[in-house]
Subunit: 400 residues, 2 copies
DNA sequence: CCATTATGCTCGCGCACCGAGCATAATGGT
DNA sequence: ACCATTATGCTCGGTGCGCGAGCATAATGG
């Protein structure tokens, strides 16, 4: 979301941007719904839509008969030659590259498993896919947005435990100097999508938390990702909620991280630190119904999760907490422990109506949707629209 | 700060709002500086300023000779009959009521000590001052903004340890149904002013922390206070950084609160819990240079402060941390302990260039400035300006 | 088949910003 | 004292864009 600008000339495209943002948020709206939502007169709507069609930013299609009375209103959709963003998802084992249009529909998609997890190999593979995507779709690709399972600062991965990366710049993924490259933590971007389009839709302040190996997440306020000054915000797992004698791989001690994931449960069971804490956690969760020791470990992690969430709610005051990954499994396996920890961690005045803890609804596509949203946030700005106008005008001149 | 609006008719006043917001942020700008900052043509500036003068929103005065060449540019100031906000500060021992004009200058000011600390007595006293303020200044008072040393939700104080209040609505301070009443935690509002006008000026993401009794603070992003869904955000003192067996008066356990203030130092010295932890802390700090036990207690609190700040920096990724209250004294008395704790709490990738910890610059007026800023944020909006236009038109008609 | 309902389009209006050209008010060298 | 230089302000016609009234269009339903 763009902030009010304090610069007058930028007022010009505000109407068009309002329409495009609304369309992006609610793909498939009819024109009359749009006009009502934005308080547009029908004359303004006509004019705006015509201008945006001319700019190849949106298109109208006849909508399915509504059954109601009155003249049917056309549905607004992304223009078939409109702007796209290229979204990349790099996780522990796989990569995905997708072209996404306004509204969030995936236009093209490729994916694969890493054969070699070294940064150069992964980036080279992905870079080639982005190049191919751009060859096919040309100037329509307005930005590249990467979701990666790592701590991110700017466009650099500073550390990725599961990938084994440290200080890896993702600048090689930028296909050209004038294409914006955005890099974000996968949990943060999934949180963005969850808050805007998932369980948090319509809620002003949403805290999203996910447990995989460690705890990630982000606070989303008014649809804005609060990922800090450098994009490295949301590392809630590295708040020192835990035993200060426990050393975390991040370099600090007592991190909350170490109390809630597979490492925590293995430690409590007296097992050595697992190679793959995610799978270890799943095994322990599966064993819990019949193995009291496993159940105790699950309960301990569930309680630590709840208590930490309580502390974060004290500090950040969200209206809703969305949970993802292992946090959902822990809540399902030991709901009473999570709740007991949560309530114990809350300041007492909050216990009357604490923000609900709900599982996220978007699943593994959340990070793609979030990365696409983050990218469209940079496209749907005054400079973004002006650049698109120039670019599409050139293409049309060349074509005619 | 207002969010982009998605409603077209609101575009109308955007230019005027941009001017007013700029003036509020930089009182004493000249017209030509304004035009440059906002990228206005001189024609637009003429028009805008004339309109705003007619609306009694700003005025021009001849500026002191700059010494430079060229035609001198008039200085823009708040209009002498322009809008004001009524700011109230309620702290442990005192109350203050001030009328503040655009730009932040205090126009009128009264204050006193509480004779009776009961909510009814304090609120009644303050209510009468607000009424007097409104009698003198009439429709010019556009909002009432209260900074109170308490946890706040909406316009209600949910708990105030030092005042001894619980669940006290401040609605009685609203002088009329149509006057906006804003209530905020004093530390949060001081942080807002610090981030906008103090040590954090120009920095996009600022974390402000203050230690008095417990820890308060707030994150300010792009000049926006992140005080959560209900205004109760910023209770960083109630993150469970500490010993989980310690019970906090807030109802949770292990709060960071309990490790850094006068209670923490007294506990470490084997003293009973002090009645007035703030003064106790000052005594211990004063004794530290010659008393090793006091020094150890100070060092312990300093280290706990640093470690917690490190954790918060991990989670929130500010570019700057501003400190206020006892946190400044602890940093001065035991800088190495604060720094050691801070570095130990940071994720290692952050240790290269961690955000600086700096003392705040605004002092005890910060909370007044912050409350005024929060109030002007509601006045400098499209509805606020439209209401002012109607109101000032009525007054002028009545006057002529 | 036409009343009803909902929506879209045309067109004149007005607001607010732009830019070019001219006016104004200071400095500073001769 | 005068005038070139510099910086700024004002006037005025042009334009982009949203508004609203009135008319046109496309569905439903008795």
């Amino acid at each position: 979301m763009e902030r009010p600008t304090h610069r007058m000339r930028d007022l010009r495209h505000q109407g068009a941007l309002a329409v495009l943002r609304h369309l992006h948020r609610q793909p498939g709206v009819t024109r009359s719904e749009l006009a009502r939502a934005l308080d547009l007169s029908s004359g303004s709507a006509t004019d705006l839509v015509a201008r945006l069609k001319r700019l190849r930013l949106l298109d109208e299609v006849a909508s399915a008969p509504s059954g109601g009375r009155g003249r049917p209103s056309p549905t607004l959709v992304a223009h078939p030659a409109g702007p796209l963003v290229c979204v990349v998802d790099i996780s522990h084992e796989r990569w995905r590259v997708a072209a996404v249009e306004l509204g969030g529909r995936i236009v093209q998609h490729t994916s694969g498993r890493h054969v070699d997890r070294e940064p150069d190999a992964v980036l080279d593979r992905v870079r080639r896919e982005i190049a191919a995507c751009r060859r096919r779709l040309g100037h329509r690709i307005r930005a590249v947005s990467v979701a990666v399972a790592a701590t991110v600062r700017g466009t650099e991965v500073v550390q990725a435990a599961t990938l084994g990366w440290r200080r890896v710049s993702l600048e090689p993924l930028r296909p050209a100097a004038d294409v914006p490259l955005l890099v974000g933590n996968d949990a943060s971007l999934a949180g963005l999508a969850e808050a805007r389009r998932g369980a948090g839709a319509g809620v002003r302040v949403v805290l999203h938390l996910t447990v995989e190996v460690g705890v990630g997440g982000v606070l989303v306020v008014d649809g804005d990702l609060l990922d800090g000054a450098t994009g490295a915000g949301g590392e809630f797992g590295h708040l020192p909620f835990g035993d200060p004698t426990l050393r975390c791989p991040c370099g600090a001690t007592g991190c909350w991280d170490l109390l809630v994931d597979g490492r925590a449960m293995a430690r409590q069971l007296g097992q050595p630190a697992p190679d793959d804490p995610r799978t270890a956690a799943e095994h322990i969760l599966a064993a819990a119904p019949r193995d009291p020791a496993a159940r105790a470990a699950v309960n301990g992690a569930a309680r630590a999760l709840g208590r930490g969430v309580g502390g974060l709610v004290n500090a950040l005051d969200p209206a809703l907490v969305t949970l993802s990954g292992l946090a959902v499994d822990l809540s399902a396996a030991a709901p009473r422990e999570v709740d007991a920890g949560y309530r114990a961690g809350l300041m007492s005045f909050r216990r009357g109506q604490p923000p609900p803890l709900v599982p996220s609804t978007l699943g593994p596509d959340g990070r793609i949707a979030g990365a696409a949203d983050a990218a469209f946030d940079t496209v749907l700005t005054v400079p973004g629209i002006e650049a698109w106008s120039r670019s599409t005008a050139r293409v049309r001149e060349g074509a005619t």
